[in-house]
């Protein structure tokens, strides 16, 4: 008896790179369009498994707007073999894609609240679709703050877009760098230092916070939010773990009882707080 695999979740579909552009040094974005089948709709915070021919497959968050699933945007930092191949893609190239996978930022449910986005480094990429949503439906939210920290000025992602947001009267945007460089007139310091400013004058009881960045940055951010009085069940974070399948088969991404690939990557903080405090989980 021979059977082929219908809808095999491990089988990538082909996508073509429509556009590819450099963001900052070592980071590039690309816009993908499906070849084999229409792409599935996605929600902000979800990710895809991207396959570079002959090199390998890695999880990468969707950084573009989810109202345009026919043109999926990813933003990747070159840190190793697969990501290097992804960053090197040009318009017209083909890659394999599986997804979208994982849980999402529940922004759509947090209407009426003050949405606070806290991003560190490349963590801004997975938050951007959610920010787009709030910007588009600004009236439904009591407030919008984007707090963004990067290591240095030349590592600030989506800089011109940030400027646009900043120029809006209905959004508060705070940016800081760990290390200043000549010509930098903005703030210096880790992201938690500007978080306080962003929260000043905001009733913590109305805040819903969405946090994405290195684990250590998220830990301090959550601490700061808690001190400011933001409730643990109104904070969401996005976890990163090794992933080989993204569908719960490979076991790599386990984080206590959760599979980061399908129960995450976005978790409500109170559900994972105890585990995050432990080492090597």
């Amino acid at each position: 008896m021979t059977a082929s695999l219908p809808h095999d979740p491990m089988l990538p579909r082909r996508f073509r790179v429509l556009r590819a552009w450099a963001e900052i040094d070592g980071v590039a974005s690309m816009e993908l369009t499906p070849i084999d089948a229409p792409s599935a709709p996605f929600r902000p915070g979800q990710f895809n498994m991207l396959y570079a021919f002959g090199v390998g497959e890695v999880p990468v968050s969707i950084s573009g707007d989810f109202v345009r699933p026919e043109a999926i945007v990813h933003t990747t930092r070159n840190v190793g073999a697969v990501s290097a191949a992804l960053v090197a893609l040009k318009a017209g190239d083909i890659i394999g894609l599986r997804g979208p996978f994982g849980s999402d930022w529940p922004v759509a449910q947090e209407t009426g609240r003050h949405a606070v986005f806290v991003a560190g480094g490349l963590g801004l990429a997975p938050l951007r679709p959610a920010i787009y949503h709030v910007l588009r439906n600004r009236g439904a939210y009591s407030g919008l703050s984007v707090v963004y920290g990067a290591r240095s000025p030349d590592e600030l992602l989506f800089a011109s877009e940030m400027k646009d947001w900043k120029s809006r009267l209905d959004a508060k945007v705070e940016v800081s760098v760990d290390h200043a460089a000549p010509g930098w007139s903005g703030r210096v310091g880790v992201v938690t230092t500007i978080l306080g400013r962003a929260l000043s004058g905001v009733d913590p009881a109305t805040v819903s916070a969405f946090v994405c960045g290195p684990e250590i940055m998220m830990r301090f951010t959550v601490e700061t939010l808690a001190i400011a009085g933001v409730s643990q069940d109104r904070i969401w974070i996005s976890m990163e773990r090794s992933m080989k399948c993204a569908v719960g088969f490979c076991g790599h991404c386990q984080f206590g009882p959760d599979f980061v690939c399908k129960d995450g990557p976005v978790f409500r903080h109170d559900t994972v707080a105890a585990r995050i405090a432990l080492k090597e989980v």
């Binding site: 002959g54 090199v55 390998g56 190793g80 073999a81 697969v82 290097a84 191949a85």
Partner: protein
């Protein structure tokens, strides 16, 4: 077409077995020669193109002052330097000299000791220069060597697990020789990769792929001592082709 990457193969103190493993890829040899520009491979060709080289495969350990200099020169001309085999990666069998009482050895003077010059130790390449990747084994496995070459060509990270030999036994369905037959076996502390050779013929692994990641040799030794292996045999088990690999060296010294 992009220019083919330039490959150089170098030999230091060794048995030639790891280089031979490359020539033993009979089915792939012509494809390798197609995909790569073989710029230096003394064992196989008179061709000797000057550097720089994209990839250098280095066999053998450093046992002379001259060789210590030669490897530095090679490193300077090489983009990716890969060591192949236990000699290059851990000093090889010849590193057994490292454990000898050097003065006693010196007194075993040969007719004309002045004819030969050698160092007191046999050391891995990584003691002398930066190494980009180490392929284990005495000799290296053909399968892993091909994987390394194709991965390097594809810009892919080679799939060379650092786990125990046990993982290969279990994947191959080989029954554990220690548990089922009481045979001492270094498998639990030895890196996988050979293709599960010794246990599949009912023999305990003798460690030719060197220590795995985070080996717990002390715990294994205690178990093997319980199976009746005397300290001297235990010591010698760790002291063979990867004798100078730090974890094996330390464990063998505990049983001196």
């Amino acid at each position: 077409m992009a220019p083919r990457p330039k490959l150089a193969v170098w030999k230091f103190a060794s048995c030639d077995g790891c280089q031979l493993t490359l020539l033993d890829c009979e089915d792939e040899l012509l494809a390798i020669a197609d995909a790569l520009d073989i710029a230096q491979f003394l064992e196989a060709t008179k061709v000797a193109t000057d550097g720089p080289y994209d990839v250098s495969l280095v066999e053998g350990s450093i046992t002379t002052a001259h060789d210590a200099q030669r490897i530095r020169d090679i490193r300077a001309q090489t983009k990716t330097l890969i060591t192949i085999g236990a000699c290059a990666t851990a000093g090889g069998t010849q590193s057994l000299r490292n454990f000898a009482d050097v003065d006693a050895y010196t007194s075993m003077v040969y007719a004309h000791p002045d004819y030969i010059s050698t160092l007191a130790t046999s050391t891995p390449i990584s003691d002398h220069v930066k190494v980009d990747f180490e392929l284990r084994g005495c000799p290296v496995s053909k399968h892993q060597l091909l994987e390394l070459i194709s991965a390097t060509l594809a810009g892919r990270k080679p799939h060379v697990p650092l786990t125990s030999q046990c993982t290969e036994c279990k994947q191959h369905g080989t029954t554990c020789v220690t548990v089922a037959h009481g045979i001492p076996c270094l498998g639990p502390v030895t890196q996988a990769g050979c293709g599960n050779l010794c246990p599949s013929v009912g023999r305990g692994c003798y460690g030719c792929f060197g220590p795995k990641e985070t080996p717990n040799a002390a715990a294994l030794s205690a178990q093997m001592a319980g199976l009746g292996l005397p300290p001297r045999a235990l010591r010698d088990l760790y002291r063979s082709f990867n004798a100078a690999a730090p974890e094996f060296q330390a464990e063998s010294k505990r049983h001196d």
